[in-house]
């Protein structure tokens, strides 16, 4: 139980480091650590499939993509022009207002004071596979088309344009 609070603290700390670090490469690395703490959260919820997918897809694929783009554009130094302090303070205040709104809303809604334990077995691969390929078969196939479209679109966008075009 205390493990949850420790890992939650780590997540919040590294998420803050992600958005406040000047160097973009350090920012990506802090985001990787944040995603790793999220994987730990999934393991504590006994969502094994999501933990593995989060580890492979987010930390493996997406973060490597971010790092590759940063190195391709040669941005691994602090060249970013920062916003003025006024805009920064206003952004922080807006975020705090959003958080206050959320917390106020949570005080009003009546949750039945439930406890989330990590001993439900809905997150096992066997159960999720049954649900995914039975009820959610059509969205699954549609998401494969979405990924194909994204792949073709990314290649088309990032390709160097030919001279005569």
């Amino acid at each position: 139980m205390t493990a949850f609070y420790f890992v939650a603290f780590l997540s919040i700390f590294f998420a803050l480091m992600t958005i406040f670090t000047k160097n973009p490469v350090h920012s990506v690395l802090y985001l990787v650590i944040t995603f790793f703490t999220f994987t730990v959260h999934y393991i504590m919820l006994n969502a094994q499939f999501l933990a593995v997918v989060n580890f492979i897809v987010y930390m493996g694929a997406i973060m490597v993509l971010f790092l590759f783009v940063l190195m391709l554009l040669n941005l691994n130094k602090d060249t970013e022009p920062m916003k003025s302090n006024l805009v920064k303070i206003m952004g922080a205040v807006a975020g705090m207002c959003l958080l206050a709104t959320f917390l106020g809303a949570f005080r009003v809604i009546e949750l039945d004071n439930g406890f989330v334990t990590g001993n439900s077995d809905v997150g096992l691969v066997k159960n999720l596979g049954k649900v995914l390929f039975d009820e959610f078969l059509l969205p699954f196939e549609l998401s494969s088309i979405l990924l194909l479209t994204a792949m073709v679109g990314a290649i088309l966008l990032a390709k160097k344009e030919t001279k005569e075009a």
Binding site: F4, T18, P24, V69, L70, L98, V122, L132, M151
Partner: protein, 109 residues
């Protein structure tokens, strides 16, 4: 007796709600205060992930697998979004030699 064991092992659902909204608010602040497009996309990833964790927590709480299947679809969507978004960033960088959001405020260059 069963309730006491749950009380010791479990985490109140409220704490998951609060934790995920804090991470979401951090993502929103990141979008608002940074000018680098790549870091703004990373903040969007942070927001998506906080929603994912909350969906998984509710799914484990209700004993319903649909929430975790939905997280799977959100992850597929995030992968597609990042691929296309980073391709756009590369193309913009090739044209303007910068990843600053302000450089995109004009409609033609």
């Amino acid at each position: 007796m069963d309730h006491i064991i749950q009380h010791i092992q479990g985490i109140p659902l409220n704490h998951y709600l609060i934790f995920c909204s804090i991470i979401f608010a951090i993502g929103v602040v990141g979008v608002l205060i940074r000018r680098n497009v790549i870091i703004i996309m990373m903040s969007i990833e942070l927001m998506l992930n906080s929603v994912n964790l909350l969906l998984a927590a509710f799914s484990a709480y209700r004993g319903d697998a649909s929430g975790q299947v939905f997280v799977f679809f959100v992850m597929a969507l995030a992968a597609a979004e990042v691929a296309v978004g980073l391709a756009i960033v590369i193309m913009v960088y090739r044209n303007t030699k910068s990843v600053d959001l302000e450089s995109l405020s004009k409609l033609r260059w």
